[in-house]
Point group: C2
């Protein structure tokens, strides 16, 4: 078992958190909002379809095909694309705008607020998300997420996994990259952070894509820590 | 008497706060740190000299003479300039670095934390300061300032009073400028915000420059509100 605090050769000073999937349950939250609006629709499938459009849309920005675009606007482009696939092409402008803001209203996982609160006593906690600042602020205010600072792709004008984002956290807090630990439930995000010299902690989120859509939470020994949830991470970090 | 909540034709949704002088007591805090390090020095005069170098240094950045520079680095340039004036040219690198971070350790005014906490229940609270993100985060964590989001010149790559900063707050939160209220103890900052369409609230801070260095806290009817402190502002805004 890796990851008790005494195995860390250098304790981090800043913990930077991935958000969608790691801190909040996008799948369950979006599915609930869609089904509340349109009870006949398969909310789980709708949530997965919306999320599936996210990486291709970011790739269009990073390739230069689209100019710099906030996630709110990418979410809206994808929403307009998938509505007809679910027979919802009749949805009006006000309802589309309301539904698009569902990404501001994602619910935290059951361990999130308690885990962050424990970690905050010892470390500086920030977000490092491709979500925009307004989205992350509204989410934190609604869910009670106790960030010390909200950082985002919007600050660095680059999406993860661009090195400018990971190195940007270290620069903002004036510490070496090794004193920043990225916490995420996605191995590719953690690998990119590690390549920039950050420490990394994997958090298991087996329900990220809903029940029956298994997620591979196998530990990768390249990560500094591997935790079942944020409460176990707090324990591993001596909080 | 201006400024009861019922006189506001449109309530703001976001309150953006100036920091140095408005939320924290830079003068008293810097004076105490300097005198703790060097008991023979006039801490009050030292604090005023340090702060006096701030606007000229920013002007050098905004004119293009200096490239984009964080306030931490501007503070250090000014510190190196003024040390000889106070007979402290012998101060070593470690001590200079420590003293420069005194700007991360400024104490809040007595009403600040209670006032912000009341306001946070009804509004989104953010900083809008020329201080850098790391400075503002460290200050908030130490002093218990309950921001929803930390915004800074560093995010907008422009210092106040550049319109990009005031309009940037409205853009981040996706609201019209009139739904943002700048809270500050400096009329020039508020005038620049007003020119961008923001609402404005003046907060009296008669001790900003220390005792015996009076500050003109005369109400300006152009401001939306004028408050004795943040507790009175909370009352005026119905919190």
């Amino acid at each position: 078992m890796r990851g008790v605090s005494t195995t860390l050769s250098h304790a981090p000073r800043v913990l930077a958190f991935d958000i969608f999937g790691t801190v909040v349950d996008w799948h369950g939250s979006i599915a609930r909002e869609v089904q509340a609006l349109r009870p006949g629709v398969d909310g789980a499938a709708f949530a997965r379809a919306w999320r599936a459009g996210y990486r291709p849309a970011m790739a269009r920005v990073m390739s230069g095909e689209l100019g710099w675009t906030l996630i709110d606007d990418l979410h809206r482009m994808i929403l307009d694309q998938i509505l007809p696939q679910f027979g919802l092409q009749d949805m009006g402008e006000d309802e589309r705008r309301h539904l698009n803001k569902a990404w501001h209203r994602l619910d935290p996982w059951p361990d999130t607020v308690a885990g962050l609160t424990r970690l905050k006593a010892k470390f500086t906690l920030c977000t490092l998300s491709n979500g925009n600042l307004g989205l992350l602020t509204n989410m934190a205010k609604r869910a009670g997420l106790p960030w010390d600072c909200i950082l985002s792709a919007e600050v660095f004008r680059a999406y993860k996994p661009d090195p400018a984002t990971y190195l940007g956290v270290a620069r903002v807090f004036d510490v070496p990259p090794a004193q920043v630990m990225l916490v995420a439930t996605h191995q590719d995000d953690l690998a990119a952070a590690r390549a920039c010299g950050l420490q990394t902690a994997y958090v298991e989120r087996p329900m990220e894509f809903g029940g029956g859509h298994g997620k591979d939470d196998t530990p990768n020994p390249a990560n500094t820590l591997h935790a079942r949830d944020l409460l176990q991470l707090a324990q591993q970090l001596g909080c």
